[in-house]
């Protein structure tokens, strides 16, 4: 190992450890956000007030959306039917939202549309209680099964590293949503699930390289093995994350308001996921006492010949 490489390696170790503690701080900040601010659950989860009305003229959805946005104080969900003449507006059920269909008169005057009010009614959540329970159960089960699978394929400390990285990614994205008060709806739930898939993928590839190097050069210390594993996978990590981030970014920038929350969640998730695969998923096993000659020892145990 040349002098330069040693210096690089030392730098990487320092970077990993500092980032790890930084990640702990970020997770704490996110947790504080989640528990103090709470997550702003969207209409999909809370239900709300549904106002239906018809317009005499046919209006495009985009135009109606803009008109309503300038009139209603809060976010809403708009559905159109009958070629843009029948409208349903769903709003959150709280003090500042307009309830019933009395606001329609004002809106009619402002927009200049001929509006006939239809039903105004309270509407329940799109998501049943059972989904929330089932969703939690699903997450827990999948984490346990993944932990078991990885422990079987790799080693329990590497598996724990991947799951800790996963936890870190999800908590930080939730934290972003809590601190910035972005409404959390079903679409964002789906992107959170995507992040889980992504984060695992990243961590496993680093873990796989660590295992590979441990088998090949057991005489090295664990620190330098992890460093060289990260160095070997960094190009791949950056290319994959970079291309995915480019796609997400273009959705964020060009696809408009309706996809903003979705792309924010994905962007944060992939970004944080890339970071965690470098700083956390391999550092955790090291802190938990993974030793470099593990696989050699194991082989010796298996091949005890008389």
């Amino acid at each position: 190992m040349s002098y330069l490489e040693i210096e690089q390696s030392e730098f990487l170790t320092k970077f990993r450890l500092i980032s790890f503690y930084l990640a702990v701080v970020f997770v704490l900040i996110s947790l504080i956000g989640i528990f103090s601010n709470g997550i702003n659950l969207g209409l999909d989860f809370t239900g709300g007030y549904l106002t239906e009305f018809t317009t005499q003229q046919s209006v495009t959805q985009g135009k109606m959306e803009a008109l309503l946005a300038s009139y209603l104080p809060e976010s809403f969900k708009l559905t159109s039917a009958e070629n843009g003449t029948y409208w349903s507006v769903q709003q959150a059920d709280n003090s500042i939202s307009f309830k019933g269909n009395t606001w329609l008169t004002g809106f009619s005057q402002l927009s200049g549309l001929t509006i006939t009010p239809q039903d105004a009614i309270y509407i329940g959540s799109q998501v049943g209680e059972e989904l929330i329970n089932q969703g939690g159960l699903a997450l827990l089960t999948s984490i346990i099964v993944i932990l078991l699978y990885l422990s079987f394929r790799f080693e329990w400390r590497l598996a724990t590293g991947s799951v800790v990285a996963l936890f870190h990614d999800v908590v930080i994205v939730l934290g972003v949503f809590a601190w910035f008060d972005i409404p959390f709806d079903l679409t964002i739930l789906a992107s959170l699930l995507a992040i889980i898939g992504y984060s695992l993928n990243d961590s496993i590839i680093v873990g796989d390289k660590v295992r590979d190097l441990m088998k090949r050069n057991s005489e090295k210390d664990i620190d330098s093995i992890i460093n060289s594993a990260i160095k070997a996978t960094i190009v791949r990590t950056l290319i994959t994350s970079g291309t995915t981030l480019a796609t997400i970014l273009s959705i964020w920038l060009f696809a408009g308001e309706s996809l903003a929350g979705f792309s924010i969640a994905l962007f944060c998730g992939v970004f944080v996921g890339t970071f965690s695969s470098i700083a956390i998923s391999a550092t955790v096993p090291q802190l938990m006492g993974l030793s470099a000659d593990l696989y050699v020892k194991r082989e010796q145990e298996v091949c005890q010949l008389p």
Binding site: I121, E130, Y198, I204, T244, S258
Partner: protein, 614 residues
């Protein structure tokens, strides 16, 4: 370099290539219908069938041209006229116009059809169904008659009181329901203590009832206002759950089911072209009950029904078993090929059936199918039909079957309804309306544009970074997208929604990843000084285990989400799982075949690393 391939290896590769080409072709054909758009067709059918079709295409064309509508095609036959619309948004206006002009003599209907060529349709090709957010669907508002359910519940309690009284030999002069939340029990004076004992028994099974003693000849059992409200809420919750179950049984994964107001349920179904079919399943309040024939015709609460042959049947009022005890139901056939429904009961139902059938071997049991519907006066009416009267041949357990179904379609429908859970309250459809995409056309267009830009950036980057291999990766990526679209078009339950697009973005990322992993390995091997061919060989081989590990864990997440999740989560999980399969296939097998092809022509320059072939 002397490349000396062993002949079995080459043969193997050839076979692999043929299989790969075959699969890719199949996927391309499945994905093809997505290129064609959906067209709305209006049908004019003459009400009076004795006359031949008299309206001419020229008339319609002139009428439409006068109102500045353009249509693609007008086809007339002896019985009907078919108009294919140019633009979906004109549908309502044209329909209104036609109704005004021809409404008296013609009935007007509409269908949505994919405009793909006939040969594609004959292969069974269908486009991907789009979710509510992308293409709209049908909205149903259902009214749940909780009052009826409450009065039904009281009726059965009253019946139980009467039966118990007869068993205990207590004479009650009258058991009646003055309103729909109480039961009035009248008895002769001096029997108060016996009646109290009887009611204590009833209270044990229905602790929510409140007992009021009027005097020593009358007791009233009633539901308090809170209990009534609680009962209504429970009924709504149960109905909502059953509805979600039914929609899932229909194979629609991305529906929206919400409680609306106090007594309504709002259901939005994506991509439903045949609302009648969906309506039948959703609105059906079918329940199945099993009764014993009454031994004493004057027993309390006996039910009189006629079977198909007009035979009069008198049954005990208390059902042996009801639909709520059914855990699973599957349509099948017996040895003679006639349709039947196989039932599996839950533990309570199994016990009931076991003890009942043991005592009654050789005696008949009646299967009754009941359904609620609304008559012309908007009153809810229960219609019951005897499906069959079967003699109990043996001691039955928790599994048995209902025979005598009229057709296998009936059997399947009954099985579906029983599986999804029966409704305790009658449900009627009060509103039906087609709804437009919730995201709006502009947003969808922008979304697609954005996705295209993102993927293009990825493609350009890969081509610049990996040169020849990058092009191969790009071809693999394109084939991956096509295969994924093809697979999704094939599966009837797959619906593409916004969350699904999240899955798609992730899939693209993973497909790129698969190739990057392989190429980085190959680079590594080349740097170690291996030859090109063997670097490629071992690059693919050693990267495969990494790819497998990474994808299997994601697959585990996907499968668990699919099996436990509901609605959008399910849809997302499906795309994720399919995406993993296609990206493994295209990323590993297809790109390897392509690499082998490319390397044969261009050994020296690969991965932008100059390699002097030794």
């Amino acid at each position: 370099m002397m490349n000396s391939p062993t002949s079995p290896h080459v043969k193997n590769a050839k076979w692999q290539n043929i299989v790969i080409i075959f699969i890719l072709l199949f996927m391309c054909i499945s994905a093809l219908p997505n290129l064609y758009s959906d067209k709305v067709k209006l049908h004019l059918v003459e009400n009076n069938h004795t006359q031949i079709n008299t309206v001419s295409p020229q008339d319609i064309n002139a009428l439409l041209a006068q109102h500045k509508f353009s249509v693609d095609e007008i086809k007339t036959s002896n019985i009907s006229t078919e108009i294919t619309l140019n633009n979906k948004t004109d549908q309502n206006a044209i329909e209104r116009l036609l109704r005004q002009t021809y409404g008296n003599d013609y009935s007007i209907g509409s269908t949505i059809e994919n405009s793909s060529p006939d040969w594609l349709k004959s292969l069974g090709g269908e486009p991907i169904k789009l979710g509510l957010d992308l293409s709209g669907g049908v909205l149903f508002v259902l009214n749940v008659d909780t009052e009826h359910a409450l009065s039904d519940r009281l009726k059965s309690i009253a019946l139980e009181i009467r039966t118990l009284a007869i068993e205990k030999r207590i004479r009650l002069s009258k058991v009646s329901q003055p309103d729909n939340h109480s039961i009035e029990i009248n008895f002769s004076p001096g029997k108060l203590d016996e009646v109290k004992l009887l009611l204590a028994n009833i209270k044990k099974s229905y602790p929510e009832l409140i007992k009021t003693e009027q005097d020593n000849t009358q007791v009233i059992l009633s539901y308090s206002t809170q209990e009534q409200a609680k009962f209504r809420q429970e009924t709504m919750k149960q109905t909502l759950k059953t509805m979600r179950g039914r929609i899932e049984e229909l194979g629609i994964t991305e529906a929206v089911t919400q409680k609306q107001g106090k007594n309504n349920i709002r259901i939005e179904l994506p991509g439903v072209h045949d609302p009648e079919e969906a309506k039948r399943i959703i609105g059906a309040t079918a329940s199945l009950d099993f009764y014993q024939l009454a031994e004493n015709l004057r027993d309390a609460g006996v039910i009189h029904l006629r079977d198909d042959n007009g035979r009069k049947l008198v049954m005990n009022g208390q059902a042996v078993l009801s639909g709520s005890n059914i855990k699973n139901a599957r349509a099948g056939q017996d040895e003679m090929g006639s349709p039947l429904v196989n039932l599996t009961l839950d533990s309570v139902g199994g016990k009931k059936m076991s003890s009942f059938s043991k005592k009654n071997i050789g005696k008949p049991m009646v299967t009754v199918f009941s359904e609620f519907y609304r008559n012309a006066n908007d009153e809810v009416i229960k219609k019951s039909k005897v499906i069959n009267v079967a003699t109990i041949q043996q001691h039955l357990g928790s599994q048995f079957s209902i025979t005598n179904m009229s057709s296998s379609k009936d059997a399947q429908e009954l099985a579906l309804l029983l599986r999804a859970g029966s409704l305790t309250a009658p449900v009627t459809i009060v509103k039906q309306r087609s709804i437009e995409a919730t995201l709006g056309v502009d947003n969808i267009d922008n979304g697609i544009k954005a996705l295209t830009i993102g993927i293009t950036i990825t493609l350009i980057f890969m081509a610049l970074w990996y040169r020849t291999l990058g092009l191969i990766a790009n071809i693999a990526l394109a084939l991956n997208l096509v295969s994924l679209l093809g697979l999704m078009s094939l599966l009837p339950g797959a619906v593409l929604t916004l969350p699904g697009i999240a899955g798609l973005v992730l899939t693209v990322g993973m497909a790129v990843d698969t190739n990057v992993l392989i190429f980085e390995r190959i680079k590594e091997e080349l740097k170690r000084g291996k030859r090109v061919i063997s670097s490629i060989e071992s690059g693919y081989k050693s990267a495969f285990s990494t790819i497998l590990d990474a994808n299997i864990t994601t697959m585990i997440t996907g499968i668990i989400l699919y099996s436990i999740g509901y609605g959008p989560v399910k849809g997302f999980a499906l795309i994720l799982c399919l995406g993993i399969l296609t990206s493994m296939f295209t990323g590993v097998f297809v790109s390897k075949a392509l690499t082998n092809l490319a390397v044969r022509d261009n050994k020296a320059q690969i991965l932008s690393i100059k390699v002097g072939d030794k």
